[in-house]
């Protein structure tokens, strides 16, 4: 047994009040096994990793229970003894590979330092480095050592960090969302690599993720956390295919499948903060639970057995399977035949400055038609030109070649054409944190389009804001808030509302659900589907997530290195991909059924 937690409780001291962040967690992790910690953001997943490293934030501390590593008590261990363990017997793979490496030191210098820390003699270090980089399938390890992190891609940096982590032959590796910041195709490769390293070294891995489907594929056991408490604990496939806790079931149903199209179950609201949970007597999930009965809110549910080695904290666990997603899918052919946007042979070249000028084709010869009321998805890896295409269409970039026709008018760069474009096309930006002015209140943001002519009074704007907020499912009191006072999902709703205020006929959405929790993503996808029924608009939906595109879009364009390599009805493209690249993308998505082989992982 490598890692064992018994009734682990971590508390925060907030203004003199002790608030538990993790409560009564118990789990075990054996050598050569992978334990997945799954939950939404704020559930306390990362706190477990931090408790192991004793890197808890200030005023946080383990207040109860034990945490043992290889028979040694980590909580009451002296700091020096722990330092010897960390990096040597316990290694970490971080979430953001680029920010985990020092940008001003070469990979070689950093690796050398790491090896020195774990006590490798200077003579053998170089050899060890080359071996380790070889083991993570990085070619040209020699040159790689002289490179700086910014010269490598995110995936390569993550491989380097995996090499770092396994260099000391650790007994335990903690991987905190190691692929969240990476492309789907790279995600599969990184997961394969971690699995390979783990098999070779017989390492125990604590895998922290918000993606239940991914965890079900790669883990042996899964512990689902909700509000810092164990919701469910059991063998990965068992947990995924026969969830005992309604929360697990809801997470599963919130995830759009890649094979079969079905409705999404969107959990209402979101997990409240720490303080709100401290006072709850019953089940913390009860307020959002579709199965909740009065008793749930009165007594804390026992963590009881629902199967072999399978525990769930729910008094109605036997009825969990009854929760089902709405049968309606967003596709009742709304699309009309009239084209609203015609893109033909659009090309955008960027030239890099300097003496040796070279040209990069970010978008190359792209042609397609978007019809009225149609949702078209654009998929591809980062760098495939998806975002540049979006910026070309809304006029934030000017094209090098090709033409663009919006609602029957050619975009020739004239002032009238620009005005025409502004009236018909709106864009929803990816990151609401950056797209919403932090100094405006929500009411002011969502009615920003009314400011253009300057003839709307503040009362008119407030009234309009009220309508928009109800349309996007935000409470009216949100109008007076600042973006910083909203959650990530709420901010993205505001972002969408602002674009809708201008009553566009075409909406361009650039990765608007990436980086959000599954339940929030499901809420937003359902919102977009509902808006489509009421509002009648077309959408270009850019995403790297194929399952999301499959759920929402009628047609799909697959982009690779600036070109459209495949296009067609979503159903058809995903069922029978014609292009090699589309097949690679599809293989990179973990299958809906964890018992099925994930080709991306084995290839």
């Amino acid at each position: 047994m490598i890692l064992q937690a018994r009734n682990l409780t971590v508390s925060a001291n907030l203004d003199g009040e002790r608030v538990p962040v993790l409560r009564d967690l118990s789990f075990t992790l054996d050598a050569g096994k992978v334990l997945g910690l799954v939950g939404e953001s704020g559930a306390g997943k990362s706190m477990v990793g931090r408790a192991i490293a004793q890197l808890l934030p200030p005023r946080f501390g383990v207040s109860d229970g034990t945490l043992e590593f290889d028979g040694k008590d980590l909580v009451r261990m002296r700091a020096e003894a722990r330092r010897v363990l960390l990096g040597r017997e316990i290694a970490f793979i971080p979430q953001e590979p680029l920010s985990a490496l020092n940008p001003v030191l070469t990979i070689g210098a950093q690796f050398d330092e790491h090896l020195a820390h774990i006590g490798v003699p200077a003579r053998t270090r170089r050899e060890r480095m080359l071996d380790a980089l070889d083991a993570v399938h990085l070619q040209g390890a020699d040159q790689l050592l002289t490179r700086y992190p910014h010269q490598l891609s995110g995936g390569m940096c993550q491989r380097v960090l995996i090499a770092f982590a396994f260099a000391s032959h650790p007994k335990l590796v903690i991987a905190d969302e190691p692929t969240t910041a990476l492309d789907a195709t790279i995600q599969a490769r990184i997961m394969r690599l971690i699995a390979e390293m783990q098999e070779r070294e017989n390492t125990a891995i604590l895998f922290i993720s918000h993606d239940l489907r991914l965890a079900a594929q790669v883990c042996d056991d899964i512990l689902v956390l909700y509000a810092g408490r164990s919701a469910e604990y059991g063998p990965a496939r068992e947990v995924f295919s026969r969830p005992g806790h309604p929360y697990t079931r809801c997470l599963q149903l919130a995830n759009p499948g890649i094979h079969k199209r079905r409705g999404l179950y969107a959990l209402p609201d979101r997990m409240p903060g720490l303080r709100a949970y401290a006072g709850i007597r019953g089940c913390p999930f009860a307020p959002r639970c579709p199965l909740a009965i009065v008793q749930c809110t009165l007594v804390p549910p026992p963590f009881g057995e629902v199967g072999a080695d399978h525990l769930a904290a729910c008094i109605r666990a036997e009825r969990t399977a009854e929760i089902s997603a709405p049968t309606s899918s967003p596709h009742e052919d709304h699309a009309k035949d009239t084209p609203i946007l015609e893109v033909s042979a659009l090309t955008k070249r960027f030239s890099t400055g300097g003496f040796r000028r070279s040209e990069v084709r970010a978008v190359s010869n792209v042609s397609f038609i978007l019809r009225e009321n149609e949702f078209v998805g654009i998929v591809g890896e980062s760098g495939s030109g998806k975002s540049t295409l979006a910026r070309l269409i809304v006029g934030l970039e000017t094209s090098s070649e090709g033409s663009l026709t919006i609602a029957g008018r050619n975009m020739d760069g004239s002032r009238e054409a620009d005005g025409h474009c502004r009236r018909h096309v709106q864009m929803v930006f990816q990151d609401p944190q950056s797209a919403l002015n932090p100094r405006r209140r929500v009411a002011s943001i969502v009615t920003q389009p009314l400011e253009v002519n300057g003839d709307a009074t503040w009362e008119e704007r407030l009234a309009r804001a009220g309508l928009l907020l109800s349309e996007i499912g935000l409470p009216p009191e949100a109008a007076a808030r600042f973006p910083a006072q909203l959650s990530g999902g709420q901010r993205q709703r505001v972002n969408i509302a602002r674009a809708l205020c201008a009553v566009p006929r075409i909406l361009i959405a650039d990765e608007i659900v990436s980086g959000l929790d599954m339940s929030v993503q499901a809420q937003l996808l359902n919102l977009l589907a509902a808006l489509r029924r009421e509002r009648h608009f077309s959408m270009l939906f850019i995403s790297h997530d194929l399952s999301v595109v499959r759920y929402l879009c009628d047609r799909v364009l697959v982009m690779y290195r600036g070109e459209v390599v495949e296009s067609g009805a979503a159903e058809q493209v995903f069922a029978a991909p014609a292009h090699e690249y589309t097949r690679t993308l599809l293989a990179a998505v973990p299958p809906d059924d964890p018992n099925e082989m994930w080709s991306g992982l084995r290839a």
């Binding site: 934030l396 864009m427 990151d431 002015n437 100094r439 389009p449 400011e451 910083a484 006072q485 201008a502």
Partner: protein, 285 residues
Amino acid sequence: MSAVPAWLRSVRVLTGLAIVLTVALLALLAPLIAPHDPNEQNLLTTFLPPAWAQGGDIAYPLGTDSLGRCTLSRLIYGARIAMTVAIVASFGAMIIGAVLAHVAGYFGGAADWLIGRMVDVWMSFPPVILSLILMVGLGTGLRNVILAIVLVDWTRFCRVLRSEVLVVTRRDYVPAARLLGFSHWRTITREILPATLPLLITLISLEMGIAVIVEAILSFVGMSVGATTPAWGQMIADARQYIYDSPWNLLFPILMIFVTVLGFNVLGDGLRLTLDVRLTETQRA
């Protein structure tokens, strides 16, 4: 959220404001407060020490100078020059610098290049020499002191603000506003300026302190206001010759400059800490 804004609850801001407002009040109400006419000479009572020292006279609380003029009155009247220069010069420098900074940072490209190089060239002149040359060219007088400070110090605003404008312009809400149909002017005034304003306010309060010092330097070398108008730099220059007979006369104007500049700096620092979104945005959530 309470009614008192965060910046008014900071000890630094309150301290700085108290000092600055006191000096400003002295300047405004000088004729009412000053015990004597600042230019009234009394050759019978020269080099009087302050009232509390041996031989002091209660009629001249801070003593008299070589011509028997009341030091306290001259200090109070000197505040008028100091505050005028501080406010007018720093606003002038701010307006030129801020306008150019927003143009450079927002439009980028050729405008940015041109303004950037202009600032580079401008900043390669040593500031004191540049202002002395300007003063020689423009001639002495209060208006020209202000002009010299504006012409030298606008670069400071331009440099610092441009990078801030650049950061804000990169945020998605700026192209978003353009896509909603905002004109360039409206985008700058509604989306960018509110974000750069805290920095602008901070810079201006620091610039006021600098302006006070520059005015003192210029009047020390006799290039500012004429001899009939009392100014702190001038008082230091006068007292320098009699430093052994009457150190008080040297110390008081220096102390006055010190306290005023300290006030502006503490205020500026406090404003920076409380208005800077990068420091406060995370805590507001």
